[in-house]
Symmetry: C2
Subunit: 367 residues, 2 copies
């Protein structure tokens, strides 16, 4: 933190607000130096970006496409990125390996997919009862989160960038009313990751199933419940036609971060302008994707509501508090078995505690 002397601070503040015109400063020419002969790098790059999303998947895949378009435009075509949906080049869950080995130079996905390779990765994706989109971006950029992420991915020959966030998700679709934690017992629910472990601890069974089978599985009663994303994506999947209740909040994914990963050798070969173009474009994805999610989820929240068939219900308080307690056990188990998870989560937890208290002050009257 740069130290700022209060008196100087006030002095500069005063300069600004004093109503004295400095007139037109003439030390700097507005003329364009059209004839300057700077060396412009003309080297071209054709890169592949593999993703964990279906091709052009609403919002998530669309921003991988946009990211490539923006970079094409910003670099005057000097960095062409060919975006591949899952299975177009490699299977979605081989994205990390493909970028690590250089089969593709770039990948777009979510860090929690790599929990099997590096347990600490999931804390960069989504943490049940964790931080929201704005808070987690503050942790990445100013709370040491991104440095830890880089440290973790260095072993995979990768450089990570935060690149998008889903915002708050929904708790999921249920055909059975959840009145107390007892109703989770025996519940077959499609829910992956840490959330799934919590459901299992609560006596339910966490089922994994391909996205393409979810509709039919819920319709036929193979599963009793499922979570997907939020109103927009869930409506596109048609779950509103076959479920009774739509529960909130999405305690298991309060603001899932997406990641851009880049093969380290490939990145280091780039000239500095293209490196900066990538870094800045990832930041633009970060704010625009979140805005897109929030606005489409708002629209589809009403669409589902207005069709009148679905009841939005909050999870009962005791259910959420039990989930929270069980989640602590799940996380403790991970952090006690993996030193890097312990280090990452300690940083995450401390930042969350502090920023949540500030949010309580700053935001509580506006939500």
């Amino acid at each position: 933190m740069k130290k700022i002397n209060r008196k100087n601070f006030i002095k500069t503040a005063a300069i600004s607000t004093a109503a004295v015109s400095a007139g037109i400063f003439t030390g700097c020419s507005t003329e364009q130096n059209n004839n300057s002969a700077a060396v412009i790098s003309n080297k071209h790059y054709e890169w592949k970006m593999v993703t964990t999303w279906p091709p052009h998947f609403p919002i998530l895949g669309e921003y991988a496409d946009k990211f490539a378009e923006w970079i094409d435009a910003m670099s005057q075509g000097r960095l062409k990125i060919h975006v591949y949906g899952g299975n177009e080049l490699v299977p979605p869950l081989e994205t990390l390996d493909a970028v690590s080995s250089g089969v593709a130079e770039m990948g777009h996905g979510a860090a929690y997919y790599w929990a099997g390779k590096a347990p600490a990765a999931q804390f960069f994706g989504s943490v049940p009862f964790g931080m929201n989109a704005v808070q987690v971006n503050a942790w990445f950029e100013f709370g040491g989160g991104l440095d830890l992420w880089k440290e973790l991915y260095n072993d995979f020959n990768l450089i990570p960038f935060p690149c998008g966030n889903t915002g708050g998700q929904m708790g999921g679709w249920f055909n059975k009313k959840i009145n107390s934690i007892q109703d989770i017992k025996g519940l077959k629910m499609r829910i992956p990751g840490l959330g799934g472990k919590v459901i299992t601890k609560a006596g339910g069974s966490a089922v994994l199933a391909p996205a393409g089978e979810l509709y039919t599985d819920l319709e036929r009663g193979v599963i009793d419940a499922l979570e997907w994303i939020g109103p927009y994506h869930d409506y596109l999947m048609g779950f509103n036609k076959i479920a009774k209740y739509y529960y909130y909040p999405g305690w298991h994914e309060p603001g899932s971060s997406l990641e851009l990963i880049i093969n380290k050798n490939a990145f280091e070969e780039l000239p500095s302008d293209l490196k900066e173009i990538i870094r800045v474009a990832a930041g633009k994805v970060n704010i625009s994707m979140l805005a897109d999610f929030e606005s489409k989820n708002t629209e589809y929240y009403y669409k589902i509501l207005n069709e009148g068939k679905i009841k939005y219900l909050p999870f009962p308080k005791d259910v959420l508090s039990t989930f929270k307690k069980l989640n602590k056990e799940v996380v403790d188990n991970i952090t006690s078995n993996d030193a890097m998870s312990k280090k990452v989560y300690a940083s995450y937890k401390k930042f969350q505690k502090n920023i949540s208290n500030w949010y309580e002050i700053a935001e509580r009257n506006y939500i």
Copy 2:
């Protein structure tokens, strides 16, 4: 909104999650086409950016500086932006005129400063009891907000870009306890803009004073209260040394947007890559400045708390609800006297109502 057929959607989702490797796709070469002879524009631009902030002002001025640095790096020095603090080239409140007339090509500030020239401008800066940072960005990009902003600024020969947000601010510093709305009567408070009009309607007097005089004015009792920004900036001003109570929330500035304004003729002269570099960099400022504000405000929230001299107090509910009612009168007065304000605020209000209901569902258990 692109229509997506549910079956196709599920099909593509299924492709992605099926555990079948497509092997290495060979249709696209990873080799770098080093010899391609694209035409790279070599034209150089030297621009001036005037700002409403003191030079290098913490966070706000710093991001104007960073924005220029990033663009320098991304453009290989083809777009050099010289950043001027308030009064270094023109007085801060002449920023809009300077960019409009082409004295400077760019400006960074906040739209509510231009309420005197275009009343509707303030709805793009900050609205008491309005949207938070994420919500307002969703409105700009996906709710028609930015289009309206462009429409308004077109008359000034300007193109606006959302470029930063302060996040939730604080309610201000008081040396007198606010127990009910009666305590606002006779209160002399430094508070500009719509918030100031609300205080006046509540029987107080809204005082304007240069930043450099605020400390002394509060210390000597010339004013009874003041609002500035939030814990970080307020601490740098030393208000914690001379006030008793620090009230929250910042009802008058729940998430103030900052703006980048560009002279239309200057922008249109740029090649398309530099245009895109500017647009994308403004988006990166948007997310990083917010993250910076939230993390520094968190740090200084604790710093002030731990020094033990200041009490953080919430405004009583009846005070806030009265402010809200009076704010409605203030806004109604503006919108009934200015057609563009009416149009802009109608769009703002509708978007706020909808997205707030979605936030109630998605975020309420996390704040």
